[in-house]
Symmetry: C2
Subunit: 420 residues, 2 copies
């Protein structure tokens, strides 16, 4: 089993100003390849710490991937530390990366300064993978000798996620060409509507009966539901796939419609697929969810094929003026009610001419609420010609999480209506 | 200087299915207190790995904070590892946490299963900080003896960010009561509109002249601009604050209006403050930004005081029908144009009756674009009675990042218009 550490370098992560998203992205990619990430670390922009930490990791792993510390400003010192680590005595200029640096800065209307040019210099002990989206090249060190008897590889990648992402396929290709490894295979099921512990209880005997080489992880997430990730380590490829198929079938029997997708997925993507398959269009009227549902739907590439648009009616006046919700309904039933949700949905449906409409009205908090609908309540409506479905949900979280749960519950209800 | 490691426990992080946001949150809080985080790690749900790794960290740090591995399902084993580490021989039931477990499950309409009840059991070697938002208690170990001569403390926190966040103040309070430490003081300035390297060049001589105890970090972020974080380590409190004031003044002279806030901030919050101060309201018409701007604005608590609502006119028909953009303008000038952006803004402003309106229309990609406006172009319009301002921006990123940059540029233009 090829093992790896991922090490992010940068004070900004240590002091908590930036959340590390690169490690997760790199790890997912390595996992597909069959490389097992056993450790992730974050360390600061300190030469001695970088050298010492990387030495430790390289003595324990086949592969170490670093991100960060390759920028042009004064707090970026990864390159010097890697020179020291690899026993390099001089820097050489990489012509290909220098050309990219010129191209990128030129396209942004910027001059090429000395500090930008210097990014094309690399230790003479490494190979280069060009960074097409940024100025810092990816450096590949194949270490050996008495200091590194295990002959580990180190890949130094940029810290800007947009650049790391683009360079990842080349790094994976390099790893593939230089290593042989066992497979880790995963199947991911997306569930919604059941709490983690209730899910665990329902599948407990199935889980206990799993073979040794298989492992189930529960990955709850407010926006996508509880992800179930089933993994099998090693073994023959088709054998492993057959085992996964069998166990997924059993899970399907146990969980039924709580499973909304048989791959790593999101509710907004599943909704999109369902609309495309049905050849239907959608509009959305939001209130307390503030545009979150429209935003989620439009992150799906190609969503313009079914999503016409949305109205976020934050003020009551906008519900009346734009969506045509009758003032007496708001006064009589309350702004958070089944009737107002349905009226909002019908309003945006007629306004845009869509087939389906989804609406939310609720109290995300802090504060708000009425006797029938305390803080944390949302009414969701899904309408289509001749049909109205409304449901009420209640959550006890903070504002941000209530909004996420409102949006997710709304999308799940919509998905079930489209698929019905 | 009190130092700390933050260690997240969980296979889901190692395989890249979940991004670790807890470490950043915890670190920010520790930094305010004056505790310096020098390492962050992520390890898997393996008993031996947890014990070994935590022993290493505890031998090198004053404080170790772990998150994760405390859930009720089969892959959560932190508690057993901590028992082994602390030499505990039995588990005891914490009555306060058990009561919370009952309350939470009851409010969700769930039964209290044995696996839920077991979460109230803790090693007899720890103290408990109650978890009010979840079922797993926070465990505090004050280690000593020959195994831990430095007398470090270990805090085992839940992995669910919503719960970690609520428990953090109590953990900080405990740390404060049990340690004495030097201060790290930060000032954060928010800038927008200048690339990181151009910023660095402009302030280069100022940065070179900084005293030894001060340090500047550049923290670029597509949604908020480049954050500049100036830190001073140790020293007398009022002396340090004076030093920070002086250097911030110098930066203000160098960077002028590129600085939009003198504290850690976001564009949407700065816009909200400006609208409140001016006593004005806002509506938004979005196209390619898909609801992102409305979503950002409504994440600011109290935004209902100034934000009336938005229309996301994803389809051209919705631009015409709902926003009243004349079909001949779209046909003549193109859907991505200064004229259409202005018409969209005026349309939503009249529809909602707001004082200000902001509109975006652009090509986020992939694909799209026309001869005058290639892929990655956005037109932004800000209108108010008798005034229209439009600007064009161009970015060369992928769809998701282009949308973020479109939204941020729009908010920055709006902010400057309100403050003008």
């Amino acid at each position: 089993m090829i093992t790896a550490s991922i090490c992010t370098i940068g004070d900004e992560i240590l002091i908590g100003q930036v959340v590390d998203t690169n490690s997760a992205m790199i790890s997912r990619a390595l996992g597909q390849l069959g490389v097992r990430v056993t450790r992730m670390l974050s360390i600061g922009d300190d030469h001695e710490t970088i050298v010492r930490t990387l030495k430790e990791e390289l003595s324990a792993q086949d592969i170490v991937i670093t991100t960060g510390g390759l920028g042009p400003t004064k707090d970026d010192i990864t390159k010097a530390a890697l020179s020291a680590l690899s026993g390099s005595r001089k820097l050489v200029e990489h012509a290909g990366q220098l050309a990219i640096i010129h191209r990128i800065l030129h396209s942004r209307g910027l001059d090429v300064l000395d500090i930008n040019r210097a990014q094309a210099l690399v230790p003479d002990t490494c190979e280069v993978i060009e960074n097409r989206r940024g100025t810092a090249p990816i450096m590949v060190f194949r270490l050996n000798g008495s200091a590194f008897p295990g002959c580990p590889s180190l890949y130094a990648m940029p810290g800007v996620p947009f650049e790391t992402e683009a360079a990842l396929p080349d790094v994976l290709e390099d790893i593939r060409r230089h290593h042989a490894f066992d497979a880790i295979r995963h199947r991911t099921l997306m569930t919604f509507g059941m709490a983690e512990s209730a899910l665990a209880k329902r599948i407990a005997s199935w889980e206990d009966a799993l073979p040794q080489s298989m492992h189930l992880a529960y990955l709850p997430n407010p926006l996508t539901g509880v992800r179930l990730r089933l993994s099998v380590y090693g073994g023959d490829a088709s054998e492993a796939e057959k085992m996964l198929d069998q166990e997924v079938d059993k899970l399907h029997n146990l969980l039924g419609d709580s499973i909304y997708s048989f791959q790593d997925d999101t509710l907004e993507h599943a909704v999109g697929e369902a609309l495309l398959r049905a050849g239907k269009s959608l509009s959305v009227a939001e209130s307390c969810t503030g545009g979150e549902i429209a935003h989620l739907l439009t992150t799906v590439p190609g969503s313009s094929a079914y999503f016409l648009g949305s109205v976020t009616s934050y003020a009551v006046s906008v519900k009346e003026k734009v969506l045509g919700v009758p003032a007496d309904v708001i006064a009589g039933k309350g702004v958070v009610s089944s009737e107002v949700a349905a009226a909002m949905a019908e309003g945006v449906r007629k306004l845009t001419g869509s087939d389906y409409a989804l609406a939310t009205t609720g109290w995300a908090g802090p504060g708000g609420g009425d006797p029938q609908n305390p803080e944390g309540t949302v009414w969701v409506a899904v309408t289509s010609p001749g049909r109205v479905r409304t449901e009420k949900y209640h959550f006890t979280n903070d504002r941000k999480r209530n909004i996420e749960r409102f949006a997710a519950s709304a999308l799940f209800l919509l998905l079930n209506e489209i698929r019905a």
